[in-house]
């Protein structure tokens, strides 16, 4: 595997929310 | 107590939106700027900083109205307010404060996570020049200036550039005493 942030992380977003 | 204030305001007094919408919106802005400036990433960094500055000079009003925070007596307190309250309330993250300078006038914010850069992989030619989340530095510069703190705020490292961590440095240049109301 070539290191990569987007392909190694789960596609489910960690932080669901930010302030409007 | 600052952490309690930040968590409480985030939980009970903050209108929230889906973080993916935020990340995708910011991503489209940065990629558009890269196109507009023909991949001159230093110009993109400056533009993001300027946009952030214009947000920061306003956002401070919202932040102080929301938290009724009194003036910070020194940079140590300021750093705690920024990391435990401001970032919590607006981005639901709490970067840790570290790397204090001996005179306690400069510190770093280390970001274990960064909601702006979800899904992002920098193009090869951007990894050495682009500070993808530079808008954050502009926001802090603008907000701090409104509370009479003239600071330099800049990125030291970013995991997007395959560096160890995402670190923003805040350095106090001077307190703008003449602007402080009598």
């Amino acid at each position: 595997y070539i290191p990569s942030k987007i392909y190694s992380e789960s596609i489910l977003y960690k932080k669901q929310q930010v302030s409007l | 107590s600052l952490k309690i204030i930040g968590d409480e305001i985030w939980k009970n007094k903050t209108e929230k939106i889906n973080a993916e919408l935020f990340a995708m919106t910011y991503g489209s802005i940065v990629s558009q700027l890269c196109q507009d400036f023909q991949r001159d990433y230093k110009k993109v960094n400056d533009q993001l900083f300027t946009m952030g500055y214009n947000i920061g000079v306003r956002l401070i009003e919202d932040f102080l109205a929301r938290t009724a925070m009194p003036r910070c007596e020194d940079m140590v307190r300021t750093a705690e307010v920024i990391s435990k309250c401001a970032f919590k309330i607006f981005l639901n993250i709490s970067p840790q404060v570290s790397n204090w300078s001996p005179n306690k006038e400069a510190f770093s914010l280390i970001f274990p996570e960064n909601p702006l850069s979800e899904f992002v992989e920098l193009p090869m030619d951007a990894t050495k020049d682009l500070w993808y989340s530079n808008i954050l530095c502009g926001v802090m510069k603008g907000a701090l200036e409104m509370v009479q703190l003239d600071c330099d705020v800049y990125f030291v490292s970013d995991v997007l550039r395959s560096e160890q961590q995402t670190e923003i440095r805040v350095k106090l240049n001077k307190v703008l005493r003449d602007e402080i109301p009598i």
Partner: protein, 174 residues
């Protein structure tokens, strides 16, 4: 051997890869014979019409499976695709002994693969493994298009994407 390609809306290859077959008797990697290597993109391209027929025909289960029985070789969408995501089309075509499978993303990108490295012997493929390969590549593809610096339809040049697709080929395609 397999020749895998992601085909965009303008029939443009967005990604291509050849997965060599098992080791030959002398221990050499048995890829496609040179003459087939050049032919693969054309064989793959020839099946795009059938894939688009399948892509645009109304949902089979509404018609009780009365799929258009045309098409040579009877390679049609597997009738027993009970799961919701009917992206996997199964065997859609063949060229002599080479079998062509396909998979559609929700935005209409075509994942197409040629199986077998000689026109004489028909290769056997394991539907479940092939489907799992496509589904995992679909997730990698989804992550690719979520990246704001990737313009949809551009060739995927990310080395990490390529290394992960090849790892999936080793995992599912032997």
């Amino acid at each position: 051997s397999q020749y895998f390609a992601i085909i965009g809306k303008d029939d443009n290859p967005v990604y291509e890869a050849e997965f060599s077959g098992k080791l030959g008797p002398q221990g050499q990697i048995q890829g496609f014979p040179q003459d087939l290597k050049e032919l693969n993109p054309f064989i793959l391209h020839a099946s795009l019409d059938i894939i688009e027929d399948l892509q645009w025909q109304p949902n089979l289960s509404l018609q009780g499976g009365a799929a258009g029985s045309g098409g040579s070789g009877g390679f049609l969408r597997s009738r027993n695709n009970t799961n919701a995501s009917n992206c996997y089309l199964g065997k859609v075509d063949h060229f002599y002994g080479i079998i062509i499978t396909a998979y559609l993303t929700y935005s209409g990108m075509k994942f197409v693969m040629l199986h077998g490295n000689s026109v004489s012997t028909t290769v056997q493929i394991d539907d479940n493994n092939v489907k799992s390969f496509y589904q995992d590549v679909h997730e990698l593809y989804t992550k690719t298009i979520l990246n704001p610096f990737y313009n949809v339809g551009d060739p995927i040049s990310s080395a990490s994407f390529d290394s992960r697709v090849r790892a999936l080929a080793r995992k599912y395609l032997g």
